[in-house]
């Protein structure tokens, strides 16, 4: 029995400790927003936050994240600046990689002080989008930063 804190709720899971977090989230907790892309931490589709840091859930075991705060795409509010920017800029194409992309960007933007758009863009090489939405991801990052700045002022 392993206890996981996901999106603010504590769940007790009957899975072996070496179960990848990705599959515990998808198959046991039914949180399907986090996607399987490669299983070896190369593509970033499975990115979630553990204590606010972007990690690859496919190469992280449930044992490793016991007692830590896990956030998935479902735990990011719909009015989060990154989600708002993603809609404004119409970033996703097929969209399969985007939960991972959004989680990675959101983790970068939660750092203090807020990094520049170029810094975030420069830290996105470990996330693959096969549709080639990269120019729109760049736009989305810039817009998310603008939204954050605007919200900080009001």
């Amino acid at each position: 029995m392993i206890s996981l804190s996901v999106n603010g709720k504590v769940h007790k899971l009957e899975v072996p400790g070496n179960t990848p977090l990705l599959w515990a989230l998808r198959e046991t907790l039914d949180l399907k927003g986090t996607k399987y892309g490669c299983g070896i931490g190369e593509c970033g589709s499975c990115t979630v936050h553990v204590n606010g840091v972007a990690v690859r859930s496919c190469t992280t075991t449930v044992e490793e994240v016991k007692g830590k705060k896990i956030t998935t795409i479902e735990g990011i509010p719909e009015n989060h600046p990154v989600k708002k920017a993603w809609i404004k800029e119409q970033v996703p194409q097929c969209g399969y990689c985007q939960p991972g992309v959004i989680m990675q960007v959101a983790a970068h933007l939660s750092r203090k002080p807020t990094p520049s758009a170029d810094e975030v863009i420069g830290a996105m090489d470990d996330v693959i989008c096969r549709c080639g939405s990269y120019p729109d991801i760049k736009k989305g990052i810039k817009t998310a930063i603008q939204i954050m700045k605007k919200e900080a002022r009001t």
């Binding site: 927003g33 070896i40 593509c43 795409i73 809609i87 119409q90 969209g95 939405s133």
Partner: protein, 730 residues
């Protein structure tokens, strides 16, 4: 505007609670009526939409949504002609049905950049039909002439009296009317949505994480299956430990299928563990000596064999033999994988009287045919639910994963989801075929192109899809970009240059790797060869590559226009930053004309190419949703840059060596250049878009490489290894 995604509740409603879709013949195809609704009150003159008393317009889209925005584009066309208010529109993924068969492809298939251009006229007509009937219903209600009534934004108004009725109020009256055969379409100046960028209906779900892809399908009592597959092509199992696999907790059934050994289990984890426990020993397969060098040698050696004639105009060989100036070169393009971000998967539920499939598929017609064949059930008992597709690029027009899911569900007697790992997705892909070319051409004394002889070898793409379409040894899918099938007015997938003596010969390679269509099909590899070789000829003739092309396209105004546009926008012939070089290419296919300029620099020490900027001009005729259209062109260029710079599937020991994104490298964010897309205003017939970013990308980059280094690379990818090899050979 909403998009109704497939929720678990809807699945249960649709599949397990006894509710079925009834298809009955209607004037424009089939209409969809929900059989459980005893009192059908909806107005639904065609399969594509219904208007209900709650004032909702539901639009059904038969094409698959894989990021190209087809749900939105089709809904825009119907809503515009129907004069619906976008706010009252709900878009739904349609079922498999004859009405959704592509007018250009003949089956329900999302491919060939054909979804918007193919359905543009039929969808306009269907919307206009609905509008005419709603107007007539209002006129009859008020007992006034139809000419005094006007439909606007979901309401019909009587202009003189100011009376108005919503579509919701009119739908039951309209449903009683005869469907008119002739209707008047709107003038283009009256378009409300067509031609204006509309937000895509699938985007909010994809941002929230709620979009349901094939991998996310949930059903009651769902089981999982994985398949142990042979490591080499044609390998058969010598032994496997069925007992050990069966003893793994949760494993329910182990059995042989044509593609390997299936392990069905209660959970994915159990299925994977069961597969490991099988410890299959395989024989060496049909061609154990096959590796990268073998594949290339086989294709290049085949260029010397007798070939089928695909095109013969004039006498190219004679002209080349006697020409003042001639040039010859050999090109090679290796296999690349689709590598969609969502690995292949499919869910099926087969019972005694029903077969239902949930598939991220590009071809709904295939599950219907496959389901009927594998279960013996009539086609009316096969139901196809299309989920969102986590990438398509042509891979999902091959229904191998559907076959597997149906076989597994039938054998187990339970709903089963077949899952592929990333390693399986790459190793058992049907690749963009490898291809070799020998091209020779002649120029006259003025340096004009007078003869072109082209030999091409490629494994057959059509043999698994439409073998009957291979005529006299010619597979036109392999030739697309060079030569089109006869009578193909919608495609123009042929060499555009005006060459008086043209000789195109073709041979099907017998290499065993499965191949399939891959975004732009062979327009991609073939345009790389044609446009690289045109550049070679321009340099041989001492002419500017743009001028040389324009001279060979004298009567082709659309090709002229995109070339001239891209030259102007990219600053062709103007200065370029120190250390950078520029290349140009043009290509037409799927009814659309494109030209591209790439600016690159080359690090001669490590062989790395940096692409700085790509500028493309596109003439695709009228546009429906301009924003996503630009995204499609950008995405096509980026996918093509990935194959231009990095991608190659490696073979070893008669099978595939590449396995995952660590050894099958693809383009990453920092490698993506600035991309400028210029759509020229055009009143020509509407052309395709989804695949149009691809063909000009590789040759524009390769031609820039020549201008940067003076060295011609006649193979893809332009990877550091291949670049260094080319630079040191000189």
């Amino acid at each position: 505007m909403t998009y109704n995604y497939i929720s678990r509740r809807n699945f249960l409603k649709g599949s397990l609670a006894g509710m079925t879709l009834v298809l009955s013949a209607g004037p424009l195809g089939f209409r969809i009526v929900n059989a459980s609704d005893k009192d059908v009150t909806a107005f639904s003159p065609t399969s594509w939409f219904t208007v209900t008393p709650d004032n909702k317009v539901t639009i059904f889209v038969g094409n698959s949504e894989m990021g190209q925005g087809v749900l939105t584009a089709h809904a825009m066309i119907v809503a515009d002609e129907l004069e619906a208010d976008w706010k009252q529109v709900e878009v739904r993924q349609g079922p498999a049905g004859d009405a959704f068969k592509s007018p250009l492809l003949g089956v329900q298939l999302t491919a060939g950049s054909a979804s918007v251009r193919g359905f543009y006229e039929p969808l306009r007509k269907t919307g206009a039909t609905g509008r005419a009937m709603l107007v007539k219903a209002a006129a009859q209600t008020w007992k006034v002439p139809e000419t005094e009534c006007q439909a606007s934004m979901g309401t019909v108004k009587h202009i003189k009296s100011g009376r108005a009725l919503t579509y919701g109020k009119l739908c039951q009256e309209a449903a009683k009317l005869q469907v008119p055969q002739e209707v008047t379409l709107k003038k283009e100046s009256e378009f409300r949505y067509i031609g204006k960028t509309m937000p895509r209906v699938d985007v909010p779900l994809k941002v929230s994480g709620k979009a349901v892809y094939g991998v996310d399908v949930k059903l009651k009592d769902l089981h999982y299956a994985v398949i142990a597959r042979p490591p080499a092509y044609g390998a058969k199992p010598l032994s496997f430990d069925e007992k050990a696999a069966g003893e793994v907790k949760g494993v329910k059934k182990v059995f042989q299928v044509p593609m390997g050994i299936a392990v069905c289990a209660e959970t994915l984890d159990s299925a994977l563990k069961g597969r490991d426990a099988l410890a299959v020993k395989w024989d060496k397969g049909v061609l154990p000596e096959m590796d990268d060098a073998y594949v290339e040698k086989s294709l290049v050696d085949d260029l010397g064999k007798p070939m089928a004639s695909a095109v013969k105009t004039g006498d190219a060989k004679k002209e080349i033999g006697e020409a003042a100036m001639k040039h010859e070169a050999t090109y090679y393009v290796p296999c690349v994988a689709h590598a969609t971000m969502e690995p292949m998967n499919c869910t099926a539920s087969v019972t005694a009287d029903r077969c239902e499939v949930w598939a991220p598929t590009q071809i709904q017609s295939a599950p219907v045919a496959i389901g009927a064949k594998l279960t013996g059930l009539p086609k009316e008992k096969i139901f196809v639910n299309t989920t969102f597709l986590g990438g398509g690029f042509g891979r999902r027009s091959k229904p191998d994963f559907v076959v597997e899911a149906i076989l597994c569900s039938k054998a187990l007697g339970k709903p089963v989801k077949v899952m592929w790992t990333r390693e399986e997705d790459i190793k058992y892909d049907a690749f963009r075929p490898p291809t070799s070319h020998r091209v020779a051409a002649a120029l006259d004394a003025q340096g004009r192109l007078i003869a072109w002889s082209h030999k091409l070898v490629c494994p057959s793409i059509l043999k698994d899809i439409r073998p009957e379409a291979i005529k006299d040894g010619v597979d036109f899918y392999c030739l697309w970009g060079l030569a089109d099938a006869p009578q193909s007015p919608h495609w123009i997938n042929r060499i555009q240059y005006e060459i008086p003596n043209l000789d195109i010969e073709f041979l099907i390679s017998q290499l065993p790797m499965p191949v399939a269509v891959w975004r732009s099909v062979q327009n991609g590899p073939n345009a790389f060869v044609i446009e690289s070789f045109m550049d070679e000829l321009a340099h041989a003739a001492g002419k500017d590559p743009l001028e040389f092309r324009l001279q060979a396209l004298k009567n082709n105004m659309r090709a002229h226009r995109v070339l001239e546009t891209v030259a102007e926008k990219a600053g062709w012939g103007k200065s370029i930053p120190q250390g950078q070089a520029r290349g140009i290419a043009q290509h037409a296919c799927f009814g659309t004309y494109t030209a591209q300029v790439a600016d690159i620099s080359v690090d001669k020490k490590n062989g790395k190419i940096k692409v700085h900027r790509n500028v493309i001009a596109v003439d695709c005729g009228p546009r429906v949703n301009p924003g996503p259209l630009v995204q499609q062109i950008q995405g096509g260029i980026i996918l093509a840059l990935s194959t231009t710079l990095k991608e190659q599937v490696h073979f070893a020991n008669g099978g595939v060596k590449s396995a995952n994104f660590d050894d099958y490298g693809v383009i990453r964010m920092s490698e993506v250049p600035d991309i400028e897309v210029h759509i020229v205003n055009s009143t020509e017939k509407m052309g395709g878009i989804g695949e149009l970013g691809v063909p000009t990308t590789a040759p524009a980059v390769a031609n820039a490489f020549f201008n940067a280094t003076g060295v011609r690379i006649r193979r893809l990818p332009l990877s550091p290894g291949n670049v260094l090899a080319a630079l040191t050979k000189v």
